[in-house]
């Protein structure tokens, strides 16, 4: 609820003055600290008024607090002054190294790249100052001139006094130049106390709504060090905007709004990164802003934020749109004619929520999620083959049919072992054991499992740390290989004479750090190491930790995935890439859904029901003037092309012509094609090859268009469509429209068809043409 709390008081209280950071610590008598003064107006918007304010107590060394006065208001912030334990002079680690990051030298496309640049290699974003020091001082090409510091390459290159491929980085009169010069002049030595490192980086304000373009806001960055000291690093960090078209930021941390929207400002130094979330509202508060009814707590978050951004949400979708949407999202199917008529004719005020309850009980609901997870787990690729895919698919499907708590589901996956080819129905003791979960690729190993599990269930992409310390996140190679050590004993072996494999938790197995060449103990992400026990399955401990309600990653990751499935966009995109530098759009709602999910014992149907019953899900896809270009805040239903399987199954439903998939009996729906492949149409509409873990791309392309115009799938279905030509045209037309678009034809549509029939065209051919046209319409092809 943190994010909502940030937004909510602004709406509830009158004008006030506040200071950031909320407390000031000064280390040493020469220490300084920038602070910000914010004025909150009656509407709840905050304004940077630092330059307008009068400050008292600034010059007194014994001060306990700083007080500011502004616009008739007053605010104070406590101040603590501590002695500095640092040796005097310029520190390489804390003063010099950060300059490489803030000046862009240590970036991935410059000297921080894997091979460096022109023989000069720095650690990526300053995560290894010792390596940087050795790069500057070592070898035959020292980059410092201790006798004449001003002639050091370290200074002449960035100022372009010496030609520099990276161009001009800072001027001779800059703070950066002065710091580097002083460091060279004092002897160019490495810190005697190498252990003092930044442990935490904070930026203020963490979130701010700027009311309209041209509004500005200063950012303040504060670093905490391992010796307990605190330092203002506002001028020592690198700033960058995730959306420079929306908000720009300069090297001093001053941001400026350019247009309505939302972005994050990244603040980086010394291998640390934080983000400030900046929202730009569209001008002044609208006086005629509608009072939007909220169906549940999801709407509180969504519409509160929209209100702050002055974006009006779209209207509620009509019953037909909602019915079609709910069927396609939950079942991958269209409602039948009878189901449509029943729902549309119903006057029950609770019919939407009743429909949701009904859909979540349908068998097809489990098929949708079974395919999604089977694909995420990349089941059926390589060794496991179609048999392995079927086991995983059946396992997930059964789990959803019985609404197995998600924590138990994941726990079972993590602890799975046994043959990859035995279907769960065969052996009671192995019932529903998704044994090929670990057999993604032919040479799946512990690092692969660590990468997959962290990405799938924790939303953390660890693979960078496999080769080097992660540039922005806290995870190091030690963390990666420590996490991988949980899977050290997960092996693959062929058991039976059926050419298929089994996963086995072996009696022995180790993971070795590739650089340190040392055996790693299993280590939780952000947690301690534990010892592997001879007779125990260390994955038990892993699953206890991973699927714990206390795990900050676990619930939020699945909530984000589910949210994306229904709302078209995750709070975090990509859905499995949670990191400081990729913050969620609605952190408070994400947390609230996660907390609710945990409180309901990881009940997937409860989570889905909560989303489906929200007004946010039920909004129309038709935008208004206020939200037409809005894409992040769910102000209207996000239209998207139907998923490949849904599209093929819907075409089969509408035409009555089933699709035959190679390797599956006739009557198998595309949503039930559990292994890879499935034919050209499915692959051209985004069915994944399962080589990597990723979500579907729902973007349309030319191949899809051509296939819908003249491909074999549509030709076959339209030509063989089963039409009851004995029915009247009124009945037939209603049926065709209801089964495909979940609405009756408009008068214009009805007239156009009747005109064709009256002019003597072949009646069957007219209906086939109509079907072709409908199947090619955006109204059919898109979820809306």
């Amino acid at each position: 609820m943190k994010g909502l709390a940030i937004l909510a008081p602004a709406l509830c209280f009158g004008a006030q003055l506040s200071i950031l950071p909320p407390a000031i610590q000064l280390n040493g008598t020469d220490a300084t600290q920038t602070f910000l003064v914010s004025y909150t107006d009656d509407a709840g918007y905050e304004h940077d008024v630092t330059s307008e304010c009068v400050t008292s107590n600034l010059a007194r060394a014994s001060m306990k607090k700083v007080t500011v006065k502004c616009r008739g208001l007053q605010a104070s912030v406590p101040v603590v002054v501590k002695a500095s334990a640092r040796p005097p002079g310029v520190s390489f680690v804390n003063d010099v190294s950060p300059i490489f990051t803030m000046s862009g030298c240590a970036g991935a496309n410059c000297h921080g790249s894997i091979r460096g640049q022109r023989g000069f290699k720095l650690s990526l974003f300053g995560n290894d100052p010792k390596l940087d020091y050795e790069a500057i001082m070592g070898g035959d090409h020292k980059r410092v001139n201790l006798k004449e510091p001003g002639k050091s390459l370290l200074l002449t290159k960035p100022t372009t006094e010496t030609p520099h491929g990276g161009g001009f980085r800072f001027a001779p009169d800059s703070l950066q130049y002065r710091t580097l010069f002083d460091w060279v002049q004092q002897g160019g030595s490495y810190d005697t106390n190498d252990g003092v490192r930044i442990t935490e980086l904070n930026v203020y304000p963490e979130e701010r709504v700027l009311l309209g373009a041209d509004k500005t806001q200063q950012l303040v960055a504060i670093a905490k060090y391992s010796d307990g000291s605190v330092r203002d690093v506002t001028r020592l960090v690198q700033y960058s905007s995730n959306s420079p078209d929306t908000v720009q930021v300069d090297a001093k941390g001053m941001i400026k709004a350019l247009q309505s929207g939302e972005t994050s400002i990244m603040v980086r130094t010394m291998g640390k990164a934080v983000a400030a979330r900046i929202l730009v509202a569209s001008g002044a508060t609208a006086k005629d802003y509608p009072n939007v009814a909220r169906f549940n707590y999801v709407d509180e978050h969504i519409f509160t934020k929209l209100r702050r951004l002055n974006i009006r949400p779209s209207e509620l979708a009509d019953d037909g749109q909602f019915l079609r949407r709910a069927y396609l999202d939950n079942l991958g199917l269209l409602p039948t004619e009878a189901e449509s008529r029943s729902f549309l004719d119903s006057t029950d005020s609770q019919k939407r929520s009743k429909l949701v309850d009904n859909l979540l009980e349908r068998r097809e609901f489990a098929d949708v999620w079974a395919l999604k997870f089977t694909e995420l787990f990349r089941a059926g690729t390589r060794e496991a083959g179609a048999k392995g895919a079927r086991i995983v698919y059946d396992y997930v499907r059964q789990s959803f049919r019985e609404n197995k708590p998600y924590d138990r589901f994941v726990r079972e996956l993590l602890l799975s072992q046994g043959s990859h080819s035995f279907p769960n129905s065969s052996i009671a003791g192995l019932r529903q054991s998704p044994t090929s979960f670990y057999n993604v690729s032919f040479d799946s190993n512990a690092p692969d499992h660590a990468t997959n599990v962290s990405q799938l269930f924790l939303g953390v992409r660890l693979e960078c740390a496999k080769c080097h310390n992660h540039p922005w996140e806290k995870y190091t190679q030690d963390d990666f290989y420590g996490f991988a050590a949980f899977f050290a004993r997960v092996g693959i072996k062929e058991v039976y004479e059926n050419d298929e494999n089994a996963t086995q938790y072996m009696e022995e197995g180790v993971v070795e750090h590739p650089k340190k060449k040392q055996r790693m103990d299993p280590k939780f992400l952000d947690g301690p190491s534990i010892k592997d026990q001879e007779d125990a399955d260390i994955r038990e401990a892993l699953s206890d930790w991973l699927a714990s309600p206390k795990n900050p990653f676990f619930a939020r990751t699945i909530v984000n995935r589910v949210w994306k499935h229904y709302m078209g966009r995750g709070f975090v995109e990509e859905v499995d890439d949670f990191r400081v530098t990729n913050p969620p759009t609605h952190p408070a709602l994400l947390d609230a859904l996660a907390e609710d999910f945990i409180a309901h014992k990881f009940d997937m149907r409860h989570l889905i029901r909560t989303i489906l019953n929200s007004r946010a899900y039920q909004l129309s896809a038709i935008p208004n003037d206020s939200n037409r270009s809005e894409v992040l805040n769910y102000s209207h239903f996000r239209i998207r092309r139907l998923q490949a399987e849904t599209l093929v199954d819907a075409m089969s439903e509408v035409t009555g012509v089933a699709e035959k998939f190679a390797g599956y009996p006739l009557g198998t729906r595309a949503m039930q094609v559990y292994a890879g492949g499935g034919g050209y149409m499915l692959s051209s509409f985004g069915r994944l090859s399962r080589d990597i873990i990723c979500e579907r791309d729902s973007q349309p392309d030319m191949a899809q268009t051509m296939h819908m115009i003249s491909g074999s799938t549509i030709q076959n279905k339209v030509n063989k469509t089963k039409l009851d030509l004995a029915s009247t045209d009124d009945i037939l037309l209603d049926r065709v429209f209801l089964t495909s678009l979940v609405r009756k034809p408009t008068d214009a549509e009805r007239s156009a068809v009747m005109e064709k029939i009256k002019t003597g065209s072949d009646r069957k051919a007219v209906y086939q043409d109509l079907l072709w046209a409908i199947l090619n319409s955006k109204e059919f092809l898109y979820q809306h």
Binding site: Q417, S419, F422, S425, S426, A428, G429, S433, Y496, E497
Partner: protein
């Protein structure tokens, strides 16, 4: 003098070249049998498909209760009549096809139920065949083929649907589903047995009409992919517990499975012993049986009312204990045993393990040997020895891993030197911590008595005249044997000589699919059979024997023949103990051709023949056509000596189908002919 030396060198050179060329399989190969079994008491006609089946003279069974008569034979098909005695033992029997140029082994299943053959088209629910229980249907499943069967079930009825395919030597990897009348899948099985065959035991919640759908897994199939589908309510035995007994003992055991309340007759092996059913209920029948004193130790089949799947039952020389009631589940309170002993148990729950405590009065070498997969159970056992403080001293999972390339052994055989007198705990569990009421094991715990076994890798060999023919033999060292074993062959045909070979006490390494090194569970040796050019053509049973000395004790053993898994899809001892070898002539050339060729009238077709020269290959080979088919022609092709293929163009001026074969000549002399190729004509 000079001339004679030169000739000798030429001969030597020719021999070296000759010896380097491996002979392609020109001995008979059976790839399909239909039907792949029959009902006892009946006489049926079977068809065997394969290659090199011409000149098949006889088909032999080990059991005299099965007799076969060859009706016809061509290179691809043998038709035979099989007479099955009314008291033939149900289950798998080895069938050996014998031709002039070699022999081949196959399986033949004897059942007790009335059999029918599926009749196509039945690939649509509307065309489903009616199943009348108990049903045994012989069928074929081709690529994309579905076989539907319709049946009715009563409320609460338990029906078994069991497919015998790969376990019976078939190429069919099948899958089955039970569908309700609306087509909704109620149950599905792809691989149930360790050899890909599916099985469903289903309790029908309501009475009605249902469908059984059978197909190749992922719609795979072939012309020789046969299956035998059992369906019905007949007793179905899963296992016997204990799964064995000591010679001469009277044992009471439980047969577990389905529909056993109807069980009446329990027979061990081919009438070795008969049991009395003491009590029975649906999932268990209690049986009392007297094991004959003179019964040979080893695995037998236990038949319950002629059920499709007999349960294994082992006769041993040791005391046996049964812990299937769960009393061995506690590591803190293990079951005490006195060596030697065989423990019978079931790992019935995931993560379960059984513990036994053994006390020794002095340091000694002991062996823990598990039997599970060798008895066709799905348990993959792992054994561990702990000291009395709970410290793990040793463990074993698989004596040799399964790579699909070489016969594996997944049942542990752990030999360990207990370092001092005291208490030790032995543990057995499933290697993957699985558990199921069918996960049976037998764990033999005894003092190690070093020994070895000898097995041939295969059941038949063709020995070519004038050549040296290698035959693979594996020596497996048991219970700590660590000394060389000398292996030789006996009962050799006239004109055949073999030198003894020493199997060193080192497991043979081999390379896996990914280049990794694996080790066999034993030592492979090649025994070289030198066959004189004028050795008489013959068929004989060759006996291998081995002798070794270890710790002052001389041990001599006779080899048994073992199936080569690729040919028979099974690892294990063949019914016939000895290897059958045919002395035959290798042709001068082998022309390997496809079985059929499709041609249009007045059209051309390309054909590639794989050429293997066994004549020394010094001169070009002329390949010509030999046919009686009207309008079929081919320009002769000259194949250079070093070439291994002949690219041929055939022309058809008529539409009538016909056969042709290729003839290989060197300097005008025929040195070999291909098998016939059947021309299919398209108008």
């Amino acid at each position: 003098m000079t001339l004679r030396v030169s000739l000798g060198l030429v001969v030597l050179f020719e021999t070296l070249v000759f010896a380097q060329v491996a002979v392609p399989p020109i001995s008979p190969q059976v790839t399909g049998t239909f039907p792949h079994g029959g009902q006892r008491g009946k006489e049926i006609e079977i068809s065997l498909q394969g290659r090199n089946l011409q000149d098949t003279t006889s088909i032999l069974f080990r059991s005299p209760k099965l007799q076969a008569t060859v009706l016809s034979a061509d290179p691809y098909t043998v038709k035979a009549r099989v007479k099955i005695a009314g008291d033939a033992e149900p289950g798998r029997h080895d069938l050996r096809l014998i031709a002039k140029h070699g022999s081949a082994i196959g399986y033949f299943d004897v059942a007790t139920f009335v059999e029918t053959n599926e009749s196509e088209p039945n690939n649509d629910p509307k065309k489903a065949e009616e199943l009348k229980f108990p049903a045994l249907v012989n069928g074929l499943v081709t690529a994309g083929d579905y076989d539907f069967f319709r049946f009715t079930a009563a409320t609460g009825q338990t029906l078994t649907f069991d497919v015998l395919g790969t376990r019976n030597g078939s190429n069919a990897d099948t899958a089955i589903s039970i569908l309700d009348e609306a087509g909704e899948e109620l149950a599905y099985s792809d691989d149930y047995y360790g050899f890909k065959d599916p099985r469903i035991v289903y309790v029908f919640p309501k009475a009605g009409t249902y469908l059984l759908r059978l197909s190749g897994s992922s719609e795979a199939g072939c012309e020789t992919c046969d299956y035998r589908l059992f369906a019905g309510e007949a007793p179905f035995a899963e296992l016997a517990m204990p799964a064995g007994a000591r010679q001469g003992s009277t044992v009471e055991f439980a047969v577990r499975g389905f529909n056993l309340d109807k069980a009446k007759e329990v027979t061990l092996g081919d009438g070795l012993a008969r049991g009395t059913v003491i009590s029975s209920k649906a999932d268990e029948a209690r049986v009392r049986m007297v094991i004959p004193k003179n019964a040979e130790p080893g695995a037998y089949r236990l038949h319950v009312d002629g059920a499709m799947r007999p349960a294994p039952f082992v006769i041993s020389q040791y005391n046996e204990v049964t812990v299937a009631d769960g009393r061995a589940r506690s590591r803190k309170d293990p079951v005490p045993v006195t060596l030697p002993v065989v423990a019978n148990g079931v790992i019935d729950k995931p993560k379960a393990a059984d513990y036994f405590v053994l006390r020794v009065d002095e340091p000694k070498r002991v062996v823990l040997e598990a039997h599970a997969m060798q008895l066709d159970y799905l348990t993959d056992p792992l054994v561990v020895i702990y000291d009395e403080n709970g410290k793990r001293l040793a463990y074993q999972d698989d004596p040799t891993t399964n790579t699909g390339k070489e016969p594996a052994n997944m049942d542990p055989h752990l030999v360990f030197q207990l370092p001092k007198a005291g208490r030790y705990v032995a543990m057995i569990r499933d290697a993957q911590y699985r558990g199921d009421p069918s996960f049976l094991y037998r764990l033999t715990m005894k003092d190690a008595e070093p020994d070895f076994t000898i097995r041939t890798i295969g059941t038949d060999e063709t020995l070519y005249r004038g050549r040296t023919n290698p035959v693979l033999v594996r020596v497996r060292r048991l219970e700590g044997w660590n000394a060389p074993v000398e292996v030789w062959a006996e009962n050799l045909p006239q004109g055949v000589r073999v030198k003894p070979v020493i199997a060193e006490p080192k497991n043979t390494p081999y390379t896996g699919t990914c280049g990794e090194t694996h080790y066999l569970d034993g030592t492979n040796i090649e025994v070289q059979f030198e066959v004189d050019q004028d050795a008489p053509l013959s068929l004989s049973e060759i006996r291998f024997r081995g002798r070794g000395v270890f710790e002052g004790r001389t041990v001599e053993r006779t080899a048994r023949a073992r199936y080569f898994k690729r040919r028979i899809r099974h690892i294990g001892d063949a019914e016939e103990e000895q290897l059958r070898a045919v002395v035959a002539d290798a042709p001068g050339v082998v022309l390997d051709v496809p079985r059929t060729l499709t041609m249009t009238k007045n059209g051309e077709a390309s054909l590639t023949a794989i050429v293997t020269r066994l004549d020394g290959g010094g001169s070009p080979l002329e390949v010509t056509l030999e046919t009686a088919a009207e309008g079929l022609s081919m320009q002769p092709v000259s194949v250079p000596p070093a070439s291994t293929r002949a690219d041929l163009k055939l022309r058809a001026s008529a539409t009538a189908p016909g056969d042709f074969l290729l003839v290989g000549r060197v300097n005008g002399t025929v040195i070999g002919k291909s098998h016939p190729v059947r021309v299919r004509r398209q108008p």
